[in-house]
């Protein structure tokens, strides 16, 4: 069965059973080429996808999915979803009413180039790195493209589809200077294959990782911190987004609960999510429930303006959905950002402190419920207004909400990175003081 046939089969069955059903199907295509020592080492090509169901019966919600598109598997999924719905004690669930949302193509011809050109970009990236005297080993250098098509339909009238995708040049390698070893990575994303340049990605890697060679221990203390986008962006998504999700607010897991309209960050801090951003890595015409995309200001000059909602959380908090419903075919309804960005400021002037280039171990060292974090970091010591030397083997700790309140300057340029659920763009963030543990 095709995805369209499976969708129609399920909607028809559900109507006959008197069930409310939302069907979300996603089909992925992926191509990746990895190069090593001047040769293509691994090529992967894939087509994969599945179909997921959200069933509401008597106000109770249940989920099921299948990657096997046979009538027997689809029947099983429908029955399991209904059985799962019946387990829910609490009524009040519903599927939003909707209409036709159209067919959207956000990708166009962006990935259309012959395979040979894609191989050449992977090989060129790896070759350029290998040629550098400080590069000890290239673990991986390569090209990957991903394309997805999402179909959304429900018994409540929602019907739409969109296609999106991106290409990426990526590298992971080890650099050496004497006894000092640093393993770094670089990923360069674009909606257009032709916009990727292996030379630029290689230079970015060499600059970013090379500056950390010869690092010294950092003395334990409290210092001014300059968080680069690669450090601040993931923290913002893992900690900040978690707190802003109305789902977590309703479940009593967010320290921002009850603080709408209050000051929760420095005046300098404005946080926006914009799924309509032209060319945005995570732009989308509508969310996973069919709510049309629009720009949302979450925090404005430090004041918490709104939480991020899907229709279910909005209904329970008596407000409107902000269009942040997320669901993969094998997941449950959640709340996810698209292109999440911190509005840039007037610039940062380095004085004294630590540039945090990257943080590691967020999933273990940061607690989104309390906001507390203690993270391994890589960085550079700044003195007299300039970078003095790289530092290593240290951890940076604090509380994310206190960090937001202590922001004292923001850089003037955004750097974008993809995340698990979307994309995040942030400038350099200066924080008055953070706690550092080292030697």
């Amino acid at each position: 069965m095709t995805f369209e046939e499976a969708r129609d089969y399920l909607l028809q069955k559900a109507r006959a059973m008197g069930l409310e059903v939302e069907v979300l199907a996603t089909e992925h295509r992926e191509l990746s080429v990895r190069a090593r020592e001047g040769r293509v080492e691994e090529i992967t090509q894939a087509r994969q996808g599945g179909i997921g169901l959200r069933v509401v019966e008597g106000g109770r919600t249940g989920y099921a999915y299948t990657e096997e598109l046979s009538p027997a598997a689809l029947d099983w999924a429908l029955e399991e979803a209904r059985e799962n719905a019946r387990l829910q004690a609490e009524a009040g669930g519903f599927l939003p009413q909707g209409g036709p949302l159209g067919q959207h193509d956000l990708l166009g011809e962006g990935l259309s180039a012959p395979l040979e050109e894609k191989r050449q970009k992977a090989l060129a990236l790896e070759a350029e790195l290998r040629a550098h005297p400080q590069v000890a080993q290239v673990g991986m250098g390569g090209y990957t493209e991903r394309e997805s098509r999402t179909l959304l339909a429900s018994t409540q009238g929602v019907a739409g589809a969109f296609r999106t995708g991106y290409a990426v040049l990526g590298v992971s390698a080890v650099m050496r200077q004497g006894e000092s070893l640093k393993q770094g990575w670089e990923l360069d994303f674009s909606r257009e294959f032709h916009a990727l340049e292996p030379g630029r990605t290689a230079q970015a890697f060499l600059q970013r990782t090379g500056r950390l060679l010869g690092a010294r221990p950092l003395k334990t203390g409290r210092y001014r911190a300059y968080l680069e986008p690669r450090a601040f962006g993931p923290m913002l998504v893992f900690l900040g987004w978690f707190m802003l999700s109305a789902k977590n607010v309703l479940e009593g897991k967010s320290p921002l609960a009850g603080r709408l309209g209050q000051k929760v960050a420095s005046d300098l801090f404005t946080l926006v999510d914009d799924p309509t951003l032209p060319g945005g890595l995570a732009s989308r015409p509508f969310d996973a429930e069919g709510t049309e995309a629009r720009r949302t200001v979450l925090i404005e000059q430090g004041v918490l303006r709104t939480f991020a909602h899907n229709s279910e959380t909005a209904h329970r908090m008596q407000t409107r959905s902000t269009g942040h419903a997320s669901r993969s075919y094998n997941g449950v309804l959640g709340v996810a950002p698209s292109n999440l960005l911190v509005e840039p400021g007037s610039g940062v002037r380095l004085e004294q402190g630590v540039i945090i280039a990257e943080v590691m171990g967020l999933h273990a060292g940061a607690n989104p419920i309390s906001g507390d974090f203690s993270l391994q970091a890589l960085g550079l010591w700044v003195e007299g207004g300039e970078v003095a030397y790289p530092v290593e083997n240290f951890a940076v700790s604090g509380n994310f909400l206190e960090l937001l309140a202590q922001i004292s300057a923001l850089g003037s340029e955004l750097e974008w990175q993809p995340t698990m659920a979307g994309a995040v763009g942030t400038p350099l963030v200066e924080v008055a003081e953070l706690s550092f543990a080292g030697a």
Binding site: G62, E251, A364
Partner: protein, 464 residues
Amino acid sequence: MLDEALVSEVLQKARAGGADFAELYVERWQRRALRMLSGEVKEATSGIDYGGGLRLFYGLEVVYAYTNDLSPEGLLELVETLVRLRGSAGRVDEQGRGGLDFRKAAAQGLHAPRVPFSAKDKRYRLERLREAEAGAWLAPEIKQVQTQLLEWEQEVLVANSEGVWAEDRRVRTRLVVTAIAQGEGGMQTGTAGPGLSVGLELFDRYPPAEVGRRAAQQALVNLRARPAPAGSMPVVIGNGFGGVLFHEALGHLLETTSVARKTSVLADRLGEEVASPVVTYIDDGTTPHGFGSSEFDDEGRPTERTVLIEKGVLKSYMVDRWGSLLTGYRPTGSGRRQDYTFAPTSRMRNTFIAPSTTPKEKLFEGVEFGLYAADMGGGQVRPGSGEYNFAVKEGYIIRHGRIEEPVRGAILVGKGPESIRRIVAVSDDLETGPGMCGSLSGSLPVEVGQPHLLISEIVVGGQA
């Protein structure tokens, strides 16, 4: 799961297209997840994952493709796609003619569930979650209890052009309880999450109320804990999930995935002393019902018990097929993947530090001021520099050899090879715990384990 003649045709076609080696992997999963929050089912979901991957070797070059379409047409198209991708049309291997003579191996049921997936209804599962939750309502400070039950049953077939035909069935069950306590210390959490390669008899081995109580106790400890101190100090690491230290600081550095590319600081070190002599480190895929156990790995090779480090000396790496081709080391049944969307790479299974005969109390005796990391969260490592970190979920100050007040928010950071040399004592109380490990070939169930052990000095990240 698939017709033998079709599998043979697919593999032979690949060989005829010039591949030295062809491997077909197919799987069908059934999964169920239930999440309950303060007495109410929040999410209930079920699913079928179904797909396959075909991997071809041309010397050291690999091409991989995967699909959900396992019909004869779908599979034959997959082979053609791969042969075309490689651009090797034209070269025909004469050996690729005729049928394959498979040596069929089926799982013996070493890790088979006693109470399988279909044996009990969902109400039964809900009742167990309610018991877990009830166990967690220990004190008025406990404000929230979340319980989750995760179950999966995976059928796997791996067949290759060397005649391997291995079928495996893997059943895993995990219960996770998270308790949130609120008080003057803000909001703090505690978790407990036992999991094994068993069915619902997990509840007999780990009574749900007891699991709930453990999560709540940890949340309450963290509520009265002060921020952890910062700086370098001696640390005693608790048994069981404490083994995640070695998983990060040592285990990942011994996978051929990084060893073969020499992006591991422990590459080319066989026979050398790489750890303190009190350290013996073992990766065992055969542990009965271990969370990371299976009868065959995802390359169809029987799993085995691999001694990685014996008394500080490096004895073996963890080797998959590709790693073996690149390095010449013998494969160790370590080829694993999350699912068909990943080609296998060398991965850990159930990895632990062997116990000694020293009682745990001895480890604390000499510590004037240090940290007792009683329970761990996860961590991360960069094999190329050895830099790793991992989080302490429950910690206490050690003062004059005694365990004193609790501290929270500590992480331990270091460089793997250095920390391993600084292990000065290991005790006699080995325990293991389940976890999910993420790497190149996806997220996999593993076990980590260790007895209590003492590290003479390590950086503790806390409040300066």
